[in-house]
Structure formats: structure tokens, C-alpha cells
């Protein structure tokens, strides 16, 4: 990969040149067809909308995770940032929708804070992202347990639930939000200088530094976006399910990383795109739906997810060695 060329190239690592992303969409199609073959109701508009809704949560968190992984890192603090945002919103708003604007603003500011802690640790102190974010995740869990004393008794305002599920122009608001995030992701990665810099850092951090990129400053950004995304997902998820609970974030640690990997991104960084992560989120959701058809529960889902991650990461690594 000619990193110096990133300064002149208009659209680096463009989607057309990434067969892995096409492969992930082909997998989405294959899984969907498998579902419809097994039971005709699978292909109904209603079911598709439900699947997309479920995938949208992984998708929103997936943007931040994609950015972190593109720069050669990862954000493992996603579960408790998500849960923390939901729980905090639920407790502070206390069922009162009129308090939501201030509460949401506070929660998002706190999320930015979490992202800054992660980002500064990774970028300025050189802490490996796995360990930094693992530590932040644990610290957040501790803080939340102290704050809630282990239990939550309040419920989120009904207005939140209505907002997430209400339809505008035929699609639930949540889906519109995801579409917005997808557009944001595409623009950010394919059409901004920031996106180019993230790819450069992920491909070869030394070369990026020598090419004049302020690596330390830029490297903080993916972690801030990831934390904000996780907080937003937590709030939206709470709106969708109607409640906040302490284990709500757990599945998303793995799901967000797996979605990015299945979407064809290289775990080493520098290769991949959010568009792939979108497919990855859909693959994971479809797998979950298919397993449900066969009455296979959480355990089998975890096994399937692990296997899928392994295969996807392996295929992506093969691509690298051919360069």
C-alpha cells in the first residue's frame, strides 16, 4: 500500500476495490434466501423491517468500532458506555419526557468524556487499545454499579419509546437514524480528509506521522465517536425495548467487533469501510434470526458468532498476504 499516495488519491481504499465488502453483502443475500426457503414468513415486509431494526443497533455502534479498527485499535468499552448512557438517562429523566433534552445532552457530554479518556490513553500514552478500553469498560461498570447499587427501578419516558418506533414516511425513526449514520459513515470515510488520515494511520502509523499527520490528535477521534455512538445506541435501545437493564450492553462488545470483521475490514487496520460493517450487522442479525427458526438459543448464537468472526477475519487476512 503506497501510503504517500493517500495525499493525492481522491477516494482511497474505495469500495469498488474491496471484494470483501461484496462478499459480505453476498452473505447477507445468501442468509436471507436461506431463511425464506425455510419459512415463507421470513421474507415478509414486516420481518424485514424487524430484522433491519435489530441490525440498526449493531450498525450505529458499528460506525465508531469501524473507525477504531481502521486505525489498528478497537473499543472494548462499548458495552458499559451503552448501558451507562441508558441507565443514566432512565434514572435522571425519571419518566419525565420534558427533562429529556438536558439529560440527553449531559449523557452525550459524558460519553465524549469516556471517549477522550480512551483516546488520550491510546494516542498520547501509547497504551494498547485492547487494554485501555478493557480497563475503561471495567471502571464504567464499577461506577454504574455504585450509582445504581446494583438495581434499577425507574423506567424511561414513554416519549422515547414512541420516538424510536414511530414511523415517518413508512419507516421507523430508528431506521431513519441508521440511514443517517450510514450516510455519515460514507461521507466521513470516503470524502473527508479525516477519513484519509484514519486510513493512513491504520496502514502505517510511522509513515502517516512522517507524512505530516498529527497522529496523536487524529487518533483520539475514533474513540470519541465510538463512545458517543455507544451512548446513542444505549438510549435508542432503551427506547426500543422500553427499559434499561444492567446487562443490556453485553452482547454488543462482540457484535460490534464481529460486524466490522465480517464487513471485510482488516483487524490490523488500514483496510475496510463502514459500508461493509452495515453488511456485517445484517449478517449477524440474520444469523440470529435463522438460529431462532431452528429454536437454537443464546449458546448456539455465541458459537455461531465466534465461528463467523474467525472465518471472516481469516478471509480478510488472506487478502492482505496477497499484496
Amino acid at each position: 500500500m503506497n501510503v504517500l499516495a493517500t495525499r493525492g488519491v481522491k477516494v482511497p481504499h474505495s469500495l469498488r476495490r474491496n471484494p470483501a465488502i461484496l462478499l459480505s453483502y453476498a452473505t447477507v443475500a445468501a442468509l436471507f434466501i436461506a431463511g425464506t426457503l425455510y419459512t415463507s414468513g421470513f421474507g415478509s415486509a414486516n420481518n424485514i423491517r424487524t430484522l433491519l431494526l435489530q441490525a440498526s443497533f449493531i450498525g450505529v455502534i458499528g460506525l465508531g468500532q469501524t473507525l477504531c479498527i481502521l486505525t489498528g485499535g478497537i473499543d472494548l468499552s462499548v458495552p458499559w458506555t451503552l448501558t451507562g448512557a441508558a441507565v443514566l438517562t432512565s434514572i435522571l429523566a425519571n419518566g419525565d419526557a420534558s427533562r429529556l433534552p438536558e439529560v440527553l445532552a449531559l449523557v452525550l457530554v459524558l460519553a465524549v468524556g469516556v471517549g477522550l479518556v480512551n483516546g488520550i490513553g491510546v494516542a498520547y500514552a501509547g497504551v494498547p487499545p485492547i487494554i485501555m478500553t478493557l480497563g475503561t469498560n471495567g471502571a464504567l461498570q464499577g461506577l454504574l454499579l455504585v450509582y445504581t447499587q446494583g438495581g434499577i427501578s425507574s423506567f424511561p419516558p414513554l416519549a422515547l419509546n414512541r420516538f424510536v418506533l414511530d414511523r415517518s414516511l413508512g419507516l421507523q425513526n430508528q431506521l431513519w437514524i441508521w440511514i443517517g449514520v450510514v450516510l455519515l459513515g460514507i461521507v466521513l470515510l470516503s470524502a473527508t480528509t479525516l477519513g484519509r488520515r484514519l486510513y493512513a494511520i491504520g496502514t502505517n502509523r510511522n509513515a502517516a506521522y512522517l507524512a505530516g499527520i498529527n497522529v496523536k490528535r487524529v487518533l483520539v477521534i475514533p474513540y470519541v465517536i465510538s463512545a458517543v455512538g455507544a451512548a446513542a445506541t444505549g438510549i435508542l435501545l432503551m427506547g426500543y425495548t422500553g427499559q434499561a437493564f444492567l446487562t443490556m450492553g453485553d452482547p454488543y462488545l462482540f457484535a460490534s467487533a464481529a460486524a466490522v470483521a465480517v464487513g471485510g475490514a482488516s483487524i490490523l487496520g488500514g483496510d475496510g469501510h463502514y459500508v461493509g460493517t452495515v453488511a456485517g450487522a445484517m449478517v449477524l442479525t440474520l444469523l440470529s434470526g435463522l438460529l431462532l427458526l431452528f429454536s437454537l438459543g443464546t449458546g448456539y448464537l455465541s458459537i455461531a458468532y465466534g465461528g463467523v468472526l474467525l472465518v471472516a477475519a481469516f478471509l480478510a487476512s488472506l487478502k492482505l498476504s496477497r499484496r
Binding site: 486505525t71 489498528g72 485499535g73 478497537i74 490513553g121 494516542a123 498520547y124 500514552a125 501509547g126 497504551v127 494498547p128 487499545p129 485492547i130 487494554i131 485501555m132 478493557l134 480497563g135 475503561t136 469498560n137 471495567g138 471502571a139 464504567l140 461498570q141 464499577g142 461506577l143 454499579l145 455504585v146 447499587q149 446494583g150 502505517n204 502509523r205 510511522n206 506521522y209 497522529v215 496523536k216 462482540f254 467487533a257 464481529a258 470483521a261 483487524i267 490490523l268 487496520g269 438459543g297 443464546t298 449458546g299 448456539y300 448464537l301 455465541s302 458459537i303 455461531a304 458468532y305 465466534g306 465461528g307 468472526l309 474467525l310 477475519a313 481469516f314 487476512s317 492482505l320 498476504s321
Partner: protein, 335 residues
């Protein structure tokens, strides 16, 4: 983790002088022992019976032993610049298996224990093989297998509970020659390390961690070592699972998850470099003891117990930041 983990753009220059001094007086190596002494003193002055009361050592050692086992394996993996996240799933599956088939299967206790530890070793060997033979990073491989083994645990035992065979519980309870079995266990781990640290095996692991390309050139058998490392880590995790299952006389599908952060924290607090190449299992075990003294400190300070979860995560962050700064500075000046 990016391939180029250390580079000129990441340099905490402001921290250089104090860290240089610290390294010269051996402070960095002594860190875990300092933490230990500091915590012990604090707890002693606040509520001494936590340390000297009857059964105090036994209770603490019982909690430390499984973490020490897992931290042992985690240290070896980290020597090679890797990490083992799958330990969580292996511990969970081990407790799940023992709790469901322990009482009812016709196998004797010895066979059961050998079987689950063997399973842990095989699971670990698989991790090691994938890491060694593909370009995949250890954390992604073990993240995937953590999910797989966690899933297996759920399939075997969907809800916490079950019943382990009665013989298992008596295996871990009690004392031998007046010393609690858990203390013996920890002492044995120290003894094993004293022997192991001078073997070719550990020297090779540290070589792989410091400079894998160079290690390959001087003839270090990379594939064999990596498979061995993760196999040992898996076996140790399964052993810890046996202990936990015996302790709680039950199994749980998520029993192992807490050990992931804890084992990595123990290793980091113990002073091993997360980039590989240096460190000591003994220090990691001390790190485990330090980590598990935090709940006592929290109790002695009369804070709610939930604060210990926070402080353990916080301590990890602090320890790893100090460790990372020390590493980046040293390489920044050229090795």
C-alpha cells in the same frame, strides 16, 4: 493492536526524567510488591482483623488461587506479545461441564478433572495453532474462541446451578499439614515458575515477544511455542474452572468472564510489558493478590462493595499507562 506499536509520534516526553530515575532504582520491577505492601498497610491500619482474623488468609488465598492460575497462563501469552481472552469461555465451560455431568456420569472424579483440563488444553492448542499459522492477531482469535466456548457453556448449562460431584468439593476444601490447600496451590505455582523461568521455553517466549522476526531467524520454533503457550493457558484456565466449580459447588455459563479483565490486570500490575518480551509470572501472581485486596480496602474504607469493581478497572488503567509510557520512552531513545 497495530503492528507498529511504538513509533516516534507517540512519546510522553514529559514523563521521561521521573521514569528514568524510577527504572534506575529498580522501582518499576518492584512496583507490584510496593502496591502489595501499600495496600496491606492501609487495610491493616483501617481494619486489621481483615488480615489477621481467623480464616482471613484461607479466604483470601481461596479467591486468589484461580486468578493466579489464569494469570500464570495469561503472562505466558503476553510474553509472546499476545493475549488470551478465551480463558473466560474455558472457565465457564469447565464449570458448566462439572456441574451437569459431575454428579451423574459414571466417571470417577479423577477422570472428570483430567478430562476438563485436557479439554482446556485442546482448546488452547487450537488458539495457538490459529495464531501461529495464520496472520490473525491473538486478540481476535481468542475473542472469537471466547464467544465459542462461552456459547458451549450456555448450551451445556443455560442457567447457573447444577451440582458438582461431592468428591470435588472435598478436593479443594481444608488444609494439608495445617496450611490451607489454596495456599499450597499458590506456593506450587511460585515453585513452578522458579524452575520454568530459566528454561528454554520461557526464554523463547520472551524472544518471540521482543522481536518475532529475529526469533525466527535464530531458530526459535515459533509454531510449537505458540501452541504450547496457549495450550498451557487453556489448561490452567480449566484448572481454575475446576477450583471455582468446587468452591461454589455449581456451575455458571458466565463464570469465567470476570477473569479476563482480572487476569490481564494482574499481569499488567505485575509489571510485565503488554508488548511482550519481559515480565515474571511471580510478579503477576503478586499482581493478582493486589487486585483481590482491593475489595478488602473498599470494605475497610466502609464504601459499598461495588466500588471495588471500579477501583480494579481504574488500577488497570493506571498501571498500564505507567507501563506503556515506560516502554514508549525506552524505545523512543533507541534500544
Amino acid at each position: 493492536m497495530s503492528e507498529t506499536a511504538v513509533d516516534p509520534s507517540v512519546r510522553g516526553r514529559w514523563a521521561a526524567p521521573p521514569l528514568r530515575l524510577a527504572r534506575r532504582i529498580g522501582l518499576v520491577a518492584a512496583m507490584p510488591y510496593l502496591y502489595l505492601v501499600a495496600l496491606a498497610l492501609a487495610i491493616y491500619f483501617l481494619q486489621s482483623n481483615l488480615l489477621t482474623g481467623s480464616g482471613a488468609i484461607d479466604v483470601r488465598a481461596t479467591a486468589v488461587f484461580p486468578l493466579a492460575l489464569i494469570a500464570f497462563g495469561q503472562t505466558l501469552a503476553i510474553f509472546t506479545r499476545g493475549i488470551d481472552l478465551a480463558v473466560g469461555g474455558i472457565v465457564s465451560t469447565t464449570t458448566a461441564l462439572l456441574a451437569t455431568h459431575g454428579g451423574t456420569s459414571g466417571l470417577t472424579l479423577g477422570v472428570q478433572v483430567a478430562a476438563v483440563i485436557g479439554l482446556g488444553a485442546v482448546a488452547g492448542a487450537f488458539n495457538g495453532a490459529v495464531v501461529a499459522l495464520t496472520r490473525l492477531q491473538p486478540f481476535i482469535v481468542t475473542l472469537a474462541t471466547w464467544s465459542i466456548w462461552g456459547g458451549v457453556a450456555f448450551v451445556v448449562l443455560p442457567v447457573e446451578g447444577g451440582a458438582t460431584s461431592p468428591g470435588l468439593i472435598s478436593l479443594v476444601l481444608g488444609s494439608v499439614l495445617g496450611v490451607p490447600k489454596s495456599v499450597w496451590g499458590i506456593a506450587i505455582l511460585f515453585a513452578i515458575w522458579l524452575w520454568l523461568r530459566n528454561t528454554r521455553f520461557v526464554v523463547d517466549l520472551k524472544a518471540i515477544g521482543s522481536d518475532e522476526a529475529r526469533a525466527r531467524l535464530v531458530g526459535v520454533p515459533l509454531v510449537r511455542r505458540k501452541v504450547q503457550t496457549y495450550a498451557i493457558s487453556g489448561a490452567l484456565a480449566a484448572t481454575a474452572g475446576v477450583w471455582v466449580a468446587a468452591q461454589t459447588a455449581s456451575g455458571a455459563p458466565t463464570a469465567g468472564d470476570q477473569f479476563i479483565l482480572a487476569s490481564v490486570a494482574a499481569v499488567v500490575i505485575g509489571g510485565a510489558s503488554i508488548f511482550g518480551g519481559t515480565g515474571s509470572v511471580a510478579s503477576s501472581i503478586v499482581g493478582a493478590i493486589v487486585l483481590l485486596m482491593i475489595p478488602d480496602l473498599v470494605f475497610a474504607l466502609e464504601l459499598t462493595s461495588f466500588w471495588s469493581v471500579f477501583f480494579q478497572g481504574f488500577l488497570l488503567i493506571v498501571a498500564v499507562t505507567i507501563s506503556s509510557l515506560a516502554i514508549t520512552l525506552r524505545v523512543g531513545r533507541g534500544r
